[in-house]
Symmetry: C2
Subunit: 145 residues, 2 copies
């Protein structure tokens, strides 16, 4: 078991910060890898046979630090997590302002390039060092319309 490319990368990045790729962390990566949207801590725990929440929080923090996982903010009070973009694909989020649900979508490459160019020039102007952009559409999902 293991040895999907995602597992390999996760293992390597963890190792590079002196951390192991344990069973619990594998479970987290698998849950996020299998989901098509960012997951809350509770959603992860439902998917992965009730891991203790403290371990989920702790390991998500470790995975985030290793650059395997990214924290996503929505409109509700729950933190959500997804795999880092270089393990998936650059994408954006539709965020429901009523229920907080988050759905992924992508944009054409030309649009991405244009946006990146504009953002970087704005950043430079303001003495900011850009890392990545965050482009979301806030509205209502089909359930909450």
């Amino acid at each position: 078991m293991t040895d999907t490319p995602t597992h390999d990368v996760a293992a390597q990045r963890l190792r590079s910060i002196g951390q192991r790729f344990t069973r619990g962390r594998r479970a987290l990566v698998d849950a996020l890898d299998g989901a098509s949207n960012p997951l809350t801590v509770e959603q992860v725990r439902e998917l992965e046979s009730s891991l203790p929440q403290s371990s989920v929080y702790r390991n998500l923090a470790v995975l985030e630090e290793a650059g395997v996982v990214r924290r996503v903010s929505s409109s509700d009070e729950f933190a959500r997590f997804e795999l880092a973009e270089d393990l998936t694909e650059h994408h954006h989020h539709l965020i429901c302002s009523v229920c907080g649900s988050v759905v992924d979508f992508t944009l054409p490459d030309e649009v991405e390039s244009l946006v990146d160019g504009e953002l970087n020039s704005a950043a430079k102007r303001l003495g900011f060092t850009g890392d990545h952009h965050r482009l979301d559409l806030v509205g209502r999902c089909s359930d909450c319309s």
Copy 2:
């Protein structure tokens, strides 16, 4: 006193949801109006002679519901607030991933239109009703570089 256009709009929107434009709420609007960036609750309280925090939270919630104020999420655990965009100007945020500070900036109109078009077509495709977009650049501010 009062009767800046912003005050008028705020008063009207509050009235439309059956709420008053009280002194405390005026203070919040003034604080946000005077700032060039989104403010945390504590920052608001420093600016406006120590309003009680419960009132700040409660009134920001009311103002948000009235469409006068918008909640902004950063990379830290503090909620930040700014005036609604139609009371200011459409803009974006540079978010420092280290200290959580948020700085406003704008993009050329052509870019905005293009992005909106793309987002709306994606939203339609997914049964989502778009309201507004959120385009931020995450990186490091000059202090945290």
